[in-house]
Assembly symmetry: C2
Homo-oligomer: 480 residues x 2
């Protein structure tokens, strides 16, 4: 149904998010608590995300593989931090084939353990390295509070798991992938992100250290949009994966792992959506152009449709859909495609035929232009590029307008509880105590310690909490 009512963002942001998903038919809650059904409109976005990311993974030398959904309970326990991090979230299979299993099986919450168990057999020598593997899969984490796309019991993701002959190579890999993620977020999703290092408290369970990209949603909250972990030799030790190095010595293998998930669809909605619904960036839109023919009589219809046939024959460079449903009015169709976030609409009626023109309407700005039919495909392409760039620029300007340099912890809650919450750039002494205290008093966490020139100013200062020496400011925010 195209006439779904959408709550205004200003009235209730959480409700707006749910309404947008319903209006665009992106996903439903499933009968199993916390699980979702990803409907075709939502899955089409995920598919395009997959295609773009997969191309980038392959261009950087990675290959796909598939490992079992079941992990023996004992495997999870082999790496101490890892089991502590995931044990509370795991779903267990205890019965199968009509009987009780000898050892319960975990449904994978992530696959480091089952994969490193396999790598033990695949890696003998430095010649077997690097091993650069990615998996597209479903994973399960039993969550108490769930939200469609953002946090669901089952979700879809990709998880890369790589093995290297040295710490430096694993580090380079983790950073290469973080850059792939940053490029994907900014160039495809049109979502600006801050790339950086997670604090010790926020790192992945079992990692040496974790990098992430952090995006700002329109309510000023942070969303961790992708993580890349340097695992050191932790999993190699746990699963006894050694290789013979170039000097003939046995050494534990170095590792990275990294992932993004269907949560990115939620990020897309919250970064770009407006009170009329989702806006899909052209580079991720299965339908980039919705075409609505306008007519009153059968004769007009025939003339308009004939011209459309001719014009659309040149539309090979982008996905388009001609909405020729006879039972709906043009106004109904405009609303229908707006709610589905199609980035560009084209209208053509009898008057346009006479003038050899069409009407193009941008979804992001509402701008409406008359455009000559001559050279139309190129103009549509240019306009889609403009929408893509415009969405990114708007999101970046929004983030800049919601970023605050703060040197006093006392100001945190005033900003975060105010009308324009956002990211706080503040100094931190690197102690867990101060991090915990800030979180307890403000519900803000350290989103990341940004790289050199990508984030807040580097000059040293004083920790916002204790006043101690701080090498550089970090990014604080309340997060999804």
């Amino acid at each position: 149904m195209a006439d779904t009512k959408i709550t205004r963002r200003a009235d209730d942001y959480a409700r707006w998010y749910t309404d947008v998903i319903a209006a665009a038919e992106l996903a439903d809650y499933a009968p199993v608590k916390g699980c979702m059904v990803i409907r075709p409109n939502g899955y089409a976005i995920w598919e395009n995300m997959q295609r773009a990311l997969d191309d980038m993974f392959k261009a950087t030398g990675h290959r796909n593989a598939y490992f079992p959904v079941f992990i023996p309970e004992s495997f999870l326990a082999k790496e101490a931090e890892h089991v502590e991090g995931f044990a509370p979230e795991v779903a267990m299979v205890t019965h199968a084939g009509g009987g009780k299993l000898e050892e319960p099986l975990a449904i994978r919450p992530t696959s480091e353990t089952i994969i490193w168990n396999a790598y033990r057999n695949w890696i003998q020598s430095y010649r077997d390295l690097p091993l650069l593997i990615n998996q597209w899969a479903n994973v399960v984490r039993w969550e108490m509070r769930t939200r469609l796309f953002l946090r669901t019991t089952e979700f879809l993701w990709q998880e890369g798991h790589t093995a290297h002959a040295s710490y430096e190579e694993a580090e380079a890999e983790a950073r290469t992938i973080l850059e792939v993620y940053r490029t994907f977020a900014e160039d495809f999703m049109a979502v600006p992100v801050i790339a950086g290092l997670k604090s010790e408290s926020e790192k992945f369970a079992g990692a040496d250290h974790t990098y992430s990209i952090e995006a700002m949603m329109q309510d000023g909250r942070a969303l961790q949009a992708g993580t890349s972990h340097h695992l050191g030799q932790n999993f190699a030790r746990a699963f006894d994966v050694k290789f013979q190095n170039e000097n003939g010595e046995q050494e534990y293998v170095y590792a990275s792992s990294w992932g993004v998930s269907t949560r990115l669809v939620g990020a897309l909605i919250m970064a770009h959506g407006d009170d009329r619904g989702i806006i899909v960036p052209p580079r991720l839109a299965a339908t980039a152009l919705a075409i609505v023919p306008i007519y009153r009589t059968d004769e007009q219809r025939a003339a308009v449709m004939e011209r459309l046939d001719r014009l659309t024959a040149g539309f090979a460079g982008f996905g388009f859909h001609v909405d020729d449903r006879e039972q709906h009015s043009p106004g109904f169709k405009f609303n229908h495609w707006e709610q589905r976030g199609v980035p560009l609409r084209m209208e053509m009626g009898p008057k346009d035929l006479d003038k050899d023109q069409v009407v193009l309407v941008r979804r992001d700005t509402g701008e409406k232009r008359f455009v000559p039919q001559d050279g139309l495909a190129d103009e549509v392409g240019r306009t889609l590029d403009a929408v893509q760039a415009g969405l990114f620029r708007r999101a970046r300007e929004f983030r800049e307008s919601r970023t605050y340099a703060v040197d006093d912890l006392g100001r945190f809650n005033a900003i975060l509880d105010g009308d324009a919450p956002g990211f706080l750039h503040g100094h931190w002494c690197a102690s867990v105590e101060c991090e915990d205290r800030i979180k307890a008093e403000t519900r803000a966490t350290i989103r990341c310690i940004p790289f050199g020139d990508a984030g807040p100013e580097a000059p040293p200062g004083q920790c916002v909490a204790c006043g101690g020496a701080s090498e550089r400011a970090v990014v604080f925010g309340r997060a999804y």
Copy 2:
């Protein structure tokens, strides 16, 4: 390791199959009984299968979606035949998030129930139909006897689930997809198949009737390579999915479902492989051309590599790989790529440089030809087409040589236990009694009742078991 020893087919076909998979590094058994790890070489074949099938599904109007891996136990029980068919194979989650679940959750063995529960909310009117949805997913069936790719506890597949306003439309859909599967098997996998109807005993649990495509492996056994089910109104009734038809009446929706799985990788191996290993048809090969430079001195190496750089710049139409590993001999590399089933090999050494030629070696026939460097990309393309066609022809000739018209049940075991077992075309009276008796006495099942001109002769005859009247011959065989 490229020097894996492969058992000869004639010595032990089952062992040959396992050896081929190990030699090509296609898959491993996982630590969980019956599960497999699909390694990058195996997954690359599956990915190309996915891509080709997905394009065909979309070209026939289908869209992808994703439904939860968990199915409430009670859902499975809603359709009587369905639960009877799947209950013994289901894996159950009983604990999650540190506690016991109120209702155990099945890991999907197939998704009809969870999907038709969703369709109840999506379908109100004939205008919502047809609903043409496909899902790429993992499914779990607890199997006692497993074999890599052919029968594993967890496997990957696609499952289409469509909803229609009439019996005839659902029937047309089931047949459309069967034709997609036939086209895919023959044109991409180069595996000839017999398309037809399954007998009542062999149909899907919950279907009105089931169609399948049946392929012959090199040991003469049948492999069901894809199924397409007309579900009638069975699941619509079970989940109360009604629509208002064009006359304003409420009616139950008609349905189809259909699927192919990673078992197709097993079919590919067993249809084309030889004593040196797997042969991947060019249209499914990530690497269609393996290039081995030949040289003794550094100078020769430099000259050969430089020429290769120039030649491969024109190789955009197919995947190729230049094996420039210095630690291995050309002979080692030939064997390496043969075991991986790369359909075409190119060699070039100093003498070839002088003569402006290369050597092309076909994986399927071993044929070795000197080919001019001028126009090489086109010649490689033509040769790959020839390999694709040659594999299909060879498999079809093999099937024809192993197909027997049999009018006497007494001959079944003589053929099936003999040196050249295969498909038996024989008459059947359509009674379950005779079908059961034939199976009990010969271990042969009715693979399918083939369509009109695609299978054995249609003229009526006498049932091989009881001598009763039979409208047409059917295909019997022992199956995987």
